[in-house]
Amino acid sequence: MAQAIYDAIVVGSGATGGWVAKELTAAGLTVAVLEAGRKLDPAVDYSEHKRPFDMPFHGRRLARGALVAEQPVQVKCYQCDEYASHLFVKDTECPYTTPKDKPFEWIRGRHVGGKSITWGRQSYRLSDYDLKAASRDGFGEDWPLDYAELKPYYDRVDRFIGVSGAKEGLPQLPDGEFLPPMAMTCGEIRAREVLKAKFGRTLTIGRTAILTAPLQGRPACHYCGPCSRGCSTGSYYSSPHSSLPAAFATGRLTLISDAVVSHVETGDDGRCRSVAYVDRLTRAHREIPGRLVVLCASTLETTRIMLNSRSARHPNGIANSSGVLGHYLMDHVMGGGASGTLPMLEGVPDERAQRPNGIYVPRFQNIESKHPDFLRGYGFQGGASLVKWGHAFALPGFGASFKQSVRDTASWTMNFGGFGECLPRFENHVRLDETMVDAWGIPVLHIDCAFGDNERKLVKDMAVTAAEMLEAMGAENVRARAEISPPGLGIHEVGTARMGNDPKTSVVNRWQQAHDVKNLFLMDGSVYPSSGCQNPTITFMALASRACDHLALDLKRGDL
């Protein structure tokens, strides 16, 4: 029986894969989405409404035992806990290697929806300070597009997924088409005033892909709190509750789960012909033909698939005539910040509703003036909340007086944690590790990546400036921290198949089409030429919309 030939094979069903499926089916294409993992059942797999005492007790399935044995890397992610560890891969099935002295913590989720189920939902636009950073300070390469080109696509994403936030009119953090902003706590309002008055810096409520008003048939957030365990009402953007249903509604989407993609098959002409995958459960090898291929497998999986797509025409991996594929890996650097208590708020109660959002201090370094020590900058995320018992460890004594003192000394605590830009460096790279395969026989990645001097300086500066801001607020017990995090743990990994106008120094063109292979497109974080410091998902999606529009136009013209 002849197999249907799809107009487009999309690899990955996460934030971008689902979005690309929506965009391409809307443009009239037939689309097959391949997802490596299983379909989730919200009734079983989501646990955001479980009370602690509803949790079944499974013997030794605890932090130090079973979790660590199968998920030694994933468990380092703050969200990979007993409630949600099944939303993260088993590292034992999906291994990778690193040099001994260069850890890289690769956090992944393999299921329909990918990391759009567990993501942090913070949504910030890049500006020309980011897209044209190289022109400003001479390091690296500009993006082959500017903010004016990207803006209509950010708008399109905002209107569909819903982003709540407040307009601030900042050139370095363009405003979006926001739903109403979430409210700030007492400490955050104070911080906003002090930062503006004493430092000229803006503190704004987090811009987050959570609905504060109904949108596209999805209800508004009900403030239960732990989004990362899944949202039964679909009130934050995740592909299974938003973009994939829209794609299905066209009648042109086929979703194939449990399809672990190994490589792209090319014809004698070097063009993509089909995508080869392994059935996750049966291990059967299959191939699905398509007129064009869009990789949305996540930054490093996309590059892994490309490196593993080797043929006579593409001996070093598909679309790698430049030799750049796998290089310029980046992740946002973390580990700098400070916290302090706010004595002026003593006695102010908190509220039971849980706001799944914090505050944001947009980048302020190297905007109007040039910092002598480092390039680029960082943004702060954080918030002020009432610490009701976390301080108990520091209180002396025991007994009834101790119990009372925990109540009496509950304090509002403000925290700032930085996310810093990572400079693109050729030596930070991935390649196939020919000595190891995963559970499906596919070669694994060797990830060779380390932060450099500029990132270390950013982390130090985060600690200093965060402590200064807290002291200016009148905070007490101010504690600064500057312990640089290992790359990967930001879970903002980008680059390794960067876009650019020159086929000798980039993998895809400004439309995210491979220079070497006209019917191959990359529409996830792999195409980033530089990292900015903003949480990247909404930019992946805006870029993908732009690329999809162009792709559809080219198809119409017969250019593909």
């Binding site: 605890l62 508004a220 039964s232 039971r352 460890f393 004594g397 025991f398 504690r479």
Partner: protein
Amino acid sequence: MSYAVNRREMLRRTLAGGVGAAIAPWVANLAEAAEDHAAHLHAVAQAMPPAADWAPKALSAHQNDMVVELSELIIPQTETAGAKAALVNRFIDNVLDDADPRDKKEFLRGLSWVDERSKDFFGADFLASAKEQQTALLTIMSSGKNTSLTDQIGVEFFQSIKSMTITGYYTSEIGMRQELGDDGQLFFAEFKGCTHAEHGAPAPPPKGRPIKPAKKA
């Protein structure tokens, strides 16, 4: 991301800074394991079977009885229930069962130390001593310093059981509901934020609407 200050980070610093000297690695390990454990299962004790069907896994019956009494001395019943009612002993047993065996050994050594000192001072093991005597021994141990009456084992053991009791109690159903005022409501029409004009609060946000809980199959 973690928006508020990370409790584990606070714990690590306060343990390290609070007692003057560097914290013993095993104390920090168990305290952090308790934090992990609480983050994963919160009030694990409540998910467990009633007393008749429950038996400790890491502790002997005698050791378990000691942990019950020690945890209740640390966070006793007042106008709200204490650690004993919150089944903190079960929480600690779980943490120990899942802990590095070396850390568990240190903890059990501490329990033996408490019994030995009770016999030295009061002529009876800890459980057989009077409440005033138990309190007196804990007071010595809680000083955080080696003295003629206590030594490093006692100091470290107190830090360990206190930190695990704190975590276990405040993440239990009793701790959350009675002590921290969690009323069990899960669905809210809005997050109000600061409503105090004196803090510079803006005009109230648009009125939210009632939301029905999602139906789960």
